[in-house]
């Protein structure tokens, strides 16, 4: 059986005139019809970007596994602020299963009870806990 194909006119290839040395100073933004469509960066910068992107994707994936517990915590938070303010609570299957003013004591009990099952432990307060971590991250590849 015959198949039909549509013949298309071949478009002219795009020309991209720029000096590679520019990349050492700043990225080159490629525009089409006045809008940016791509950015050209030096290979070393791309390598560093890929490492950052991989690390960030891993961090986001780890945080995503906490989503059911986080959602349950936020759903229960108005009531918990009345009953457990400034304490730590452990949430399993959408329910508070234990609480303590000491998160380390709570974690030990919860891990002994639930083992590898996903449990969400959080402090009952309006704002997320904030820690200072001023040490710069280790840079594996960098260019000057």
């Amino acid at each position: 059986m015959a198949t039909s194909k549509i013949i298309k006119e071949v478009h002219a290839a795009y020309a991209l005139p720029f000096d590679e040395k520019q990349l050492a100073d700043h990225p080159v933004v490629l525009e089409r019809h006045g809008k940016p469509v791509a950015v050209v960066i030096a290979p070393e910068e791309y390598q560093a970007y890929c490492e950052w992107r991989d690390a960030d994707a891993w961090r986001r994936a780890e945080l995503d596994k906490l989503r059911p517990g986080r959602e349950a915590f936020q759903r229960l938070l108005p009531e918990l602020l009345r009953t457990h303010r400034d304490q730590f609570v452990a949430i399993h299957d959408g329910q508070v299963v234990d609480s303590d003013a000491d998160n380390l004591a709570l974690a030990q009990r919860v891990i002994a009870r639930f083992g590898n099952e996903q449990v969400y432990i959080q402090k009952v307060c309006q704002q997320p806990r904030i820690f200072e971590l001023p040490s710069p991250e280790e840079i594996l590849n960098a260019s000057l």
């Binding site: 891990i111 432990i121 991250e137």
Partner: protein, 124 residues
């Protein structure tokens, strides 16, 4: 007294510790840099993967540039300088060594002798 790790630029106080998964009891030996600037300790991502640690909580962390980032946290045991700490809360990042923060250091008498490039870490 242990010597600073001369491979660091500039040299730094580094100690070998054991990170212990509280569920399985599995442990990994990792070098740890003593970091009085860090509020809590930080594990390398590879240690989290090797020990198959389960994220249990999350918190916001601000770095030297003031940028806030949400990170997962984990509860682990550690053994450091011959002492066992049954449980601490740690976070993780893409590093090759542990950052041993004030959550651990404040349990010890730590003496830095920068002139001599030696340090001491002991439990009173």
């Amino acid at each position: 007294m242990p010597h600073y790790d001369m491979r660091m630029r500039p040299p730094a106080a580094v100690i070998e510790i054991q990170v212990i998964d509280l569920v399985s009891g599995t442990a990994e030996h990792v070098p740890a840099k003593l970091d009085t600037g860090a509020a809590i300790s930080v594990l390398p991502q590879t240690t989290v993967e090797t020990l198959q640690l389960i994220q249990t909580s999350e918190a916001a962390f601000y770095g030297y540039d003031g940028v806030l980032t949400m990170r997962p946290t984990y509860y682990v045991g550690i053994e450091v300088a011959g002492y066992r700490i049954p449980v601490i809360e740690v976070t993780s990042s893409r590093r090759t060594d542990v950052l041993l923060g004030r959550d651990v250091l404040n349990r010890f008498i730590v003496t830095f002798n920068g002139k001599d490039l030696t340090f001491e870490m002991r439990d009173p």
